[in-house]
Symmetry: C2
Subunit: 363 residues, 2 copies
């Protein structure tokens, strides 16, 4: 069976190999007689699955030993509260506004912290990235928050800002939901990184938090114990029953990533995929992307048809060609192609071929 190409922004396409393995093991994991879903989270079978998942992730992302890996629940939107509940102590927190997700994070944090805007690209319609040298960082900020890839607006930090080099001692908090594992992470720049799994890591319902150990132990008394990073870390993410099957699926995805050559290899593929797609858009008369070339996301490409009356025909034709979930986010309209790790170059080529043909015959 030929599978269609699924460009969903998340929950998103997963590697077919991973899904095939999960189906094959569904009723009997490795001769245990149990589905992974049926295992006690404290039994030796699931503990082995969890430990392997963490080990493989640490290897893939080169996570230093002074960072804890937490498997949590609630997604990025819950973390928008959980991060300040753990780190802000009701004091100053600075945000760099680059699109919808950093805006949402600031709004939620305002319930728990004295929030400030260090910089904003709103005047450009969230199509640029402000130079870190121009950020207005407060001396007393408990942390500085960025969204390193804006899923809706399609802007991506190509390198993480080095706050220390800017004279700022606050830790950097990074929402890397939608490009985690698509490129290496410079952990020297990071205090905490978080992301929902449902783009590049696995199914929805699992949230990854990677936090430097010295940031633990500062949670507000209002923080639910199940979301206190210290408690989660001290219990190997087992204080409350973890989303066991989602962790298993993420673990299978990590094994798949290793078989692909790891995150460095994925980065080269993702660069090739996005170069093919942006190159086509820039050469087209019908389609266009509004984002400054210096900060275009390799993962999420919002694009527009100059003739909007063709939108529905475009989407219907795409579906007929096995090119799924291309409709843009309702807040910006148009189209969006998400080119996560599980999207092969063939899928991007198929999309370009369809779009070229559609432009030639319909526009």
């Amino acid at each position: 069976m030929k599978r269609p190409f699924n460009f969903s922004a998340g929950p998103a396409a997963m590697p077919a190999e991973v899904l095939q393995q999960a189906a094959a093991e569904m009723l009997d994991w490795h001769g245990s007689g149990m589905s992974v879903m049926e295992m006690s989270h404290r039994g030796k079978e699931f503990m082995a699955i969890r430990d392997a998942a963490e080990g493989d992730l640490r290897e893939l992302l080169a996570i230093p030993s002074n960072f804890k890996v937490l498997f949590m629940q609630g997604g990025g939107l819950a973390e928008n509260a959980i991060v300040p509940l753990n780190l802000a102590q009701g004091a100053a927190v600075d945000f760099v506004i680059t699109g919808s997700w950093s805006q949402k994070s600031l709004k939620e944090a305002s319930k728990y912290a004295d929030v400030g805007v260090a910089s904003s690209n709103e005047a450009s319609g969230h199509t640029t990235l402000p130079d870190p040298a121009t950020w207005r960082l407060r001396k007393d900020a408990r942390y500085v928050h960025i969204c390193s890839n804006e899923t809706i607006h399609g802007v991506e930090f190509q390198t993480l800002p080095d706050l220390a080099a800017l004279g700022c001692n606050a830790p950097l908090v990074v929402d890397f939901s939608s490009h985690v594992a698509s490129r290496p992470v410079d952990w020297n720049c990071v205090g905490l990184a978080f992301g929902g799994a449902q783009k590049n890591l696995g199914p929805a319902g699992l949230t990854l938090v990677v936090v430097r150990e010295d940031l633990l132990g500062q949670a507000s008394p209002h923080c639910p114990t199940a979301f206190d990073y210290s408690t989660v870390a001290a219990n190997q993410s087992m204080y409350n029953t973890p989303p066991t099957f989602a962790i298993y699926m993420a673990g299978l995805t990590f094994q798949w990533l290793k078989r692909q050559g790891g995150v460095g290899a994925m980065e080269r593929r993702n660069a090739a995929k996005s170069e093919l797609f942006y190159g086509f858009l820039d050469g087209s008369g019908l389609y266009h992307n509004k984002v400054d070339k210096a900060c275009r996301s390799r993962m999420n490409v919002p694009f527009f048809l100059r003739e909007e009356r063709l939108n529905e025909a475009f989407l219907a034709g795409a579906r007929e060609h096995g090119l799924l979930q291309l409709k843009g986010h309702k807040s910006v309209g148009g189209m969006r192609a998400s080119l996560y790790n599980a999207m092969p170059l063939d899928g991007v080529q198929a999309l370009v071929d369809y779009m070229r043909d559609f432009e030639r015959t319909r526009a």
Copy 2:
């Protein structure tokens, strides 16, 4: 393949039919070309899955139309904070202590409310249930919390208390995690009921909350927006990305329950299963259960070998006979057999046969 019988307290056994269907649909749900894991939660395919799951659950549990059904994340332990964050308003909340889970709920709620103990069975070692007529309920309590089935101590409310008949106007909050869908619910007695899915509803990572509409809209400013029941309800549990695959698996389980004849039929089966098992324990010289017969749980049966030196041999022999995950919770020791909906009478009979033989040959 003959599957072993899995007595885990949770995550717990699931119906083989449900797992088989999930495996068969893993790469292509109903001709969509996508796994359920790969679907946008806002697309028509997943919305249909979610709507069917809610509809089937409402039918199975006979949930009145003035209650909202919420699909959330974090499990019972997270709800121990989320409930008071939504309902307590920092005021009085009364707890009925019947075992580990109600104790945990009280401890967490003390961060957000003026908690009181209306009654406790601690003096009996959590083996009895106090008569509701003796509960000391405060006039100003915002709500009264019970755990209607204590998973660790194995005591179960056979009927829910009618607080109004006791002269109390506060809503009853029920943690029904470990016996939801095993018997009907008298919603006339309930203000809010919550439960992790991983016992009787589906995989870990999904939390069910059923809340009367008049209790919405009272959340504390400290409540994370993703856990504000009003927000979750207003967004059909889609404010943050829901655990889509877990909802799908729960939906398949609901369909299976309907094919079995619904919750009334399950109650009759669960009564027969537990009567068989308790009858065997009570007639045995080696095994015993400590719980008052009037409040024994149909779902979770902690039991002990009078000769503790045989514990390891008992567990090893059980595994050889395809009887899995019988070890008791570390806080009480001994053994525990969880007889959730997915456990057939045949499984209980196989356990009894093994235990009888073990007693005859080893004790």
